[in-house]
Structure formats: C-alpha cells, structure tokens
C-alpha cells in the first residue's frame, strides 16, 4: 500500500498543454502513472503524447473517469482550477502551482474541507509512491520502494533526505510534499493520519521549517494518536524574524513560528529531531533498524 497516489490513481492534468504541464504530465506517464486525461480550455480534442485533452474537467470525468487531478495552471487561475476539479467530483487534487494569493486559498480550503476531498499543496512538488505512481515534479530516480513515509513543506530538502535514506538502503512508501504556503490543503497532521492508517508505512520522517504552528500540532498528534514512530527535521534555526525565507509560509511572525520552538515541542513529545538532513536520515535508519531487529 501507499497513501494519496498508487496503482488505482487515474490522473487528469489541468494545464496539460503548457510548457511545464506537458513536460511533467509526460514524465509522470512514463513513470507508470495512469494519466487518463488533460484539460486546457479551448484545446479539447487534441492530445499530448496520446493523452486526450478536454475543454473542462467535467468533460474529462465523463469520458475518462479520473479520480485525481494535478493543477499546473498559472497562480491567478489556480484557485478556479481547484474549484472546477472539486465540483466535477474529483476526490484528490494536487496543486503544484506556486504563488496563489493567500485569501484565495483561505476560501478554497474552507470550501474543500467539508466535502472530504484531499487537497495537497499549493506550492508543492506533489506526491510519489515509488513503484506505483508519481504525480508532480518529484524526481523519482532518487527514491526507492520501501516502508518509510516522508512528509515535507520543502521540495529539495525532501529530495536530499530521501536520497540519503536510499543510500542507506532504506526505501519509501510515499513521499508527500505538502507545500510551502501559509495555508495548504493538507497539514502535517492530515498526512500523518494517512501514514498511521497505512500498514506498509513503518516509520515517518517529517520535514518542517519556520512559520506557523503545524509542527507543534503534529507533535501533539504523534504523541496522542500514532503508534508508527516519527523522526523529524526542522529547517531555519538561523532565519531572522519578519523575513520571508523563499517560501511564502516560511516567516517568523513576532516570536511565533521559530525552529527552536518547533524542535522543543517535538522533543517534549518524544520525537527525535535531527540537527541536519544527514542526521535526520541516520536517525530514521536507526529507528528502522531497531524495528526490524
């Protein structure tokens, strides 16, 4: 098993005829993901490497029955694309696009949530279940099949830690990039709950960074509701307050959202936190070793 995407994923790509959209849709297809359709308004009828393109998500649903949508449209149209996918009955929406206005996302989040739809992102690298499906821009070559779940607010940092795990001989069940914005569709807690319910995931590595309080909420959830062990890494100990560090959500506001506070909250709940990506990977390796020994 895996979480969010797997062999049952039937993917529709919104914005498939754009440069990025077509590049990554094709990459995902070659990886083995079941890409059933693409959507670009007024380009219905054409195809991208054999993937049929429709004018609307509703048309794509009627003809090809996708259950997952990947959003690759520009930021100012991305909220609209998410609403379109959800209103067409799509169960899982993964939004790669970066730069969505925060107020748009506030409304999207509160609209989507009660419907039980899984929204990942925006401003995220997507979701990869090695050997099963890749939806997004994660380079699958550096990961391998296995039983460690990875959840992160940062793309390259996830690749870094995944790469180190792979080199230590530890494969991954699913890699989930939840995104670097202040409001994202799925929080650490949402993804941790999915990993907890996944019998194949034996350990989770959680990669957090400065800003907000989702790592603190995760610490509480891990202590109270998880039997699967979790190790963590937090980036941004040297970040100054009040400055946005690349990701829109990576900002210390006043005294809230520091890396130190997050590390302390996690450690107080018994979660081991690596001081750098290499140490986090090593802690994960130790924990997996202890479990299988």
């Amino acid at each position: 098993m895996a979480i969010v995407v797997d062999r049952d994923t039937r993917l529709v790509v919104q914005g498939i005829t754009g440069r990025e959209g077509s590049f990554h849709a094709t990459r995902n297809l070659r990886y083995g993901t079941n890409v059933v359709a693409g959507v670009t308004p007024a380009k219905g009828g054409m195809d991208v490497e054999g993937i049929p393109v429709f004018d609307t998500v509703r048309d794509a649903v009627a003809e090809t029955s996708p259950n997952t949508a990947m959003v690759f449209v520009p930021a100012r149209f991305a909220a609209d694309a998410i609403y379109e996918a959800v209103d067409a009955g799509i169960e899982t929406v993964i939004c790669i696009t970066e730069g969505l206005p925060a107020h748009d996302m506030l409304r999207v989040y509160n609209y989507v949530r009660p419907k039980g739809v899984t929204l990942i992102g925006p401003n995220c690298p997507g979701v990869l279940s090695p050997g099963k499906a890749n939806v997004g821009i994660i380079p699958a070559e550096i990961f391998s099949e296995g039983s460690v779940g990875l959840v992160s607010r940062s793309g390259t940092l996830t690749y870094q830690i995944g790469h180190e795990l792979t080199q230590l001989g530890i494969g991954q069940s699913t890699i989930v990039g939840i995104g670097g914005d202040p409001v994202v569709g799925s929080s650490f807690v949402d993804v941790l709950a999915r990993f907890e319910a996944d019998p194949e995931t034996e350990l989770v590595v959680m990669v957090g960074e400065i800003g907000g309080n989702e790592e603190e909420k995760a610490a509480e959830f891990i202590a109270e509701q998880m039997s699967t062990p979790v190790v963590a890494y937090i980036a941004g100990f040297t970040a100054p307050p009040g400055k946005t560090m690349g990701h829109a959500g990576a900002i210390i506001s006043g005294s809230a959202g520091t890396a130190r506070a997050k590390k302390e909250a996690l450690e107080a709940r018994g979660v081991r936190v690596g001081t750098n990506p290499t140490e986090a990977a090593r802690l994960a390796a130790e924990a997996v070793g202890a479990r299988t020994a």
Binding site: G99, A102, R107, P139, I210, A235, M245, G249, N276, P277
Partner: protein
C-alpha cells in the same frame, strides 16, 4: 509587503475608516509647508517599517510651522531599530480621551481571519493577551460566509464597550476594516490606537497594514507603494534581477536550489562555526544567467569572504548546473573562494566537470557537512 503608516491610512480612508488629515514630507521645509497647510497643532511622525517609534523619539508634537520644521530636522535621519528615517507624516494633532485596539489578521493556524478588540489600547497587544486575556475579545470570521454585523456587536460587548455612541462608531469601523482586509488581500490590518476624542469621535490614529505579495498582481496601485529606496541595497538589486535573496549578517555567501535546502544550509554553516551572509534560492533551474545574477547580488556584499553553492540535483541535473556555474564564472570575475557541493541526479558527472575545468580557488565537495566545513575554513584563511 508592509506599508507605511500613511499608506495604510490612505487605504483606511478609501475603505471609509476615519483618519486625521495629513501630508508626507521628506525635508524640514516640506514639513513646515505641510504644517502651514494643515494649520494648528500638528504631529511629526517618522515613517519607518518597525515599531517603537515613539520611544525612539520618532513622534513629536509641533505647535507651529516653525516648530514642525525643527522637529522634522531632528527626526529625519534618525536610526530607529536599523531603519533610517527618510519620510515623515505630518498630521493634524488629535486630542485623546481613550485609546482602544482593533485588528484583523490572517490566522494561518485556524485558516480564518481573526478579529481582536480591546479597550486597553496603545499597548503591545501580545502584552495585553498575556496579562489580561479576559480584556481581549477574539473572534474568527468564516471566510465563505464573510463578515456579519453580529460579529461587530459581539466584539463591542465582549470587550466591555458600553457607550452606545462609541459602539455605533466602532461597529461601523469593524465592518469597514474587514472590507479593507479582504479587498486589499491583507495579511494584517491593525489600528493601535483606535482613539476616542473628547468630543466622542472614534478614529484610527495609527495603522499597520501588510498586503500578501502573491496578490499584488491584482492591486497595481498598492504594489506601487513599495519604497524601493528603503530596502537594503542588495535586496533591492536582487528584486530587480528576480533573485530570491535575504541579507544576513555573516561572511559566508550562500546559494542553493530550493528554499528549504537553503535554510538548512544556513543552519549547517552556523553549526560548523561560520555565519551566513545571506539566503539565496536559485529555484529549480541552474541556468548560467540565474547563477550570474545571484553571484552579482551576493558579491555586492562587502562582508562576504567565501561562497558556498549547495545544489541537490533533481529534475535539473547536476551536470546542467555544473555547466551553468562554469559558464557564469567565465562571464564574470569572482574574487572569493568558492566551494561547490553537488549531490543527486548526475552528481558525479557534474563534479567531474568542475574538477576538469579547475577554475582557480574553486573546491568541490560531495556532502553538505563537508562543504560547510570547507567554506568556513577557506573564509577564515582569506580573512586572516
């Protein structure tokens, strides 16, 4: 993007929130002219994007145009928490009977806007929240339903505001503040203090206004309010070149691909005894022009002694990044030692390309930790 007090007040005024009339001045002479135009007693207020202006001597009363000119001379050029005063707001002085606090913020934890109102204004709100939480009325707004009038009533009653005339005015301001918050894509709209004059008039005496950078495309007028002159000169250069850059206070210049990886790099530099000079994210690509632009920004900082590239190759392969770095170095002269760490997709090919080309004073490393140690070592050698 943070706005100055006078810019925030302009947006308040557009939303229909009462503010005092005033003028912007950048010289003592302009301050005098503004005071003459406004008439009567004025307040000369430093415009800086930081708190604590009053304590730092950045806000002063002036009874006449002469005095306004004098006060302006004192305040212009003041350094308030690292911000040099270059602009003043000359405002008609207000008599203050009471000071309240009102704000609406973007509560990312709850994923809803949050109103806060208290009759204990003029103080630091974190202090009020800590010392007398019962005096602070807090209420979330459902984003899909939007603001409803009962919420303004609740805030007034919960905060113990009893005067019916004040209630009426505050309720109207609450509604208008929510309008400004949504219409301008704000992350924060704060009025501290919200004052009541001896005549019973309620108005905004100060403003703190932050607009979401990602929404500026639909607010061209607000985007133009950005004071490019006030930014750190390196951050200004970075903005012009489209480089994601934050100036820090150390000697190790840092470039990497991906915000999280760069943040981790800063931390590792600190752990091995160095101090990062900056945050700089090249993004997913590693094309030569992007590297040239980033290096120009980083080396414009005189504190920099050595530079670290921390690249993890994903879809952008390390050999492509190595080619970009070599092309960039061929186009410019860099006088600092450079350490390049390449790992991930095609890392060996990338490293080999750099070793074969062997530019002077360039060191190649495989791991983040080894690269951090190496760059701190060469920086110390250079500084010595």
């Amino acid at each position: 993007m943070d706005l100055y007090e006078y810019q925030g007040k302009e947006l308040f005024a557009r939303a229909g929130i009462p503010v005092s009339q005033g003028r912007v001045a950048t010289t003592p002479e302009e301050a005098r002219a503004a005071a003459e135009e406004i008439g009567g007693q004025v307040v000369v207020k430093a415009q800086v994007l930081t708190g604590g202006r009053g304590k730092a001597g950045g806000i002063k009363l002036a009874a006449s145009p002469d005095e306004a000119e004098e006060r302006a001379r004192e305040i212009l050029g003041l350094d308030i928490r690292g911000h040099v005063v270059r602009k003043l707001w000359i405002e008609k002085a207000s008599d203050i009977a009471k000071e309240y606090y009102l704000s609406v913020t973007f509560d990312r934890g709850e994923k809803k806007p949050l109103f806060m109102f208290t009759t204990q204004g003029g103080m630091d709100i974190e202090e009020v929240a800590a010392e007398s939480p019962e005096a602070l009325a807090r209420l979330h707004v459902e984003p899909l339903a939007g603001f409803q009038p009962w919420q303004a009533r609740w805030l007034c009653f919960a905060a113990g505001l009893e005067d019916p005339d004040e209630q009426k005015q505050v309720m109207a301001i609450v509604a208008k503040l929510y309008g400004a918050f949504v219409d301008f894509d704000a992350m924060l709209c704060e009025v501290n203090p919200l004052i009541v004059t001896p005549d019973g008039e309620v108005k905004a005496l100060d403003s703190k206004f932050t607009v979401d950078d990602n929404a500026l495309f639909r607010h061209a007028d607000v985007a133009e309010m950005r004071d490019v002159e006030a930014a750190d000169p390196r951050e200004r250069l970075a903005r012009e070149k489209g480089v994601t850059y934050v100036k820090l206070d150390g000697e190790i210049g840092i470039l990497g691909n991906g915000a999280g990886l760069v943040m981790a790099t800063l931390d590792v530099i600190d752990q091995v005894g160095g101090r990062p000079a900056n945050f700089c994210d090249l993004g997913g690509g590693g094309d030569a022009q992007g590297v040239v632009d980033a290096l120009e920004v980083i080396t414009s900082d005189d504190q920099v002694e050595a530079i670290l590239f921390n690249i993890f190759g994903g879809i952008t392969r390390c050999d492509e990044v190595a080619r970009g770095i070599l092309t960039a170095l061929g186009q410019m002269t860099i006088e600092h030692p450079i350490v390049v760490r390449l790992d991930g997709t095609n890392a060996e090919e990338g490293r080999q390309m750099l070793v074969d080309a062997a530019p002077p004073d360039l060191y190649v490393e495989e791991t983040m930790l080894a690269a951090a140690e190496r760059v701190v070592e060469v920086a110390k050698a250079k500084a010595a």
